[in-house]
Symmetry: C2
Subunit: 178 residues, 2 copies
Amino acid sequence: MKNYVYIATSLDGYIADIEEKLDWLPNPNEEINLEINYPEFIKSIDAIVMGKNTFNIVCSFGGDWPYPKPVFVVSNSLKEIPEKYKDKIQLLNGSVENILKEIHSQGYKNLYIDGGVNIQNFLKEDLIDEIIITTIPILLGGGKPLFSKISKRLNFECVSSSIDKGIVQNHFKRVHTK
Amino acid sequence: MKNYVYIATSLDGYIADIEEKLDWLPNPNEEINLEINYPEFIKSIDAIVMGKNTFNIVCSFGGDWPYPKPVFVVSNSLKEIPEKYKDKIQLLNGSVENILKEIHSQGYKNLYIDGGVNIQNFLKEDLIDEIIITTIPILLGGGKPLFSKISKRLNFECVSSSIDKGIVQNHFKRVHTK
């Protein structure tokens, strides 16, 4: 059972700019060959856990539902899933531990933890095992940071790195021996 | 004429923790084999430009003066260089442009820009050409960030990456074509 983060940040560590814009991300049609590509990554996990903000962004894209795996939306304010998504997602709330317990009880083991606040909540509880960061080499100067305050230092190790078109992907795994 | 940043940060982008501590950096006696090692980097540059804070930290280490190249200390508050360092460093103040003009007029072309605030001041003026970041894979949860607010986005490209002992070094170069 492992929890994975797979995310793109700017060189200065933001997942969205100060106006929440994502126009600095590479064009989705541009083929970028990094060691762990998104379709392969999605194949490797059992379910996706995202926050309400990420869910709203995904809904705003319109078009086909993009996830081939079960999706859990974590929110303490959202009371109901919109009708059109009812067969695609499950709404969860409560502590990160209880959320995980519920997801594991349904048989999903390897989870893709997505969304800024959601990732930060998992990191606060030291519940992230691997972080795959694709660094878009731009300085934005401000925005929504990937990382936030945590109560104790967490050690990782970088296990692989790959570059294509100036973009670098670094793969970190949690280590508990230091 | 190029300005280089060569620095270590935590995975969450800090150059010192919340108490200004650096105890999370690797032991200097531990050999870490990354593509651009520090002695080689220092050999490749003509002079070092640091802020007052970095100068104070270096002085606090005691022992031999560590720099084999001319050092410029940038400070608008420091009025005089302590006697024992007078033959080793020059004090500069004023705008980044004027500082650079003075250093270039002395014949130093490739510069190592060091120190948090100093680096940020150079980035604000888009005067950094290359950034070599060695990422120590630890989440500190807070501290002194490497990057700060800038007024316009700056594009770089990652040109190389190397890993040793779980530490990853990524080398970024400024690009002006986007």
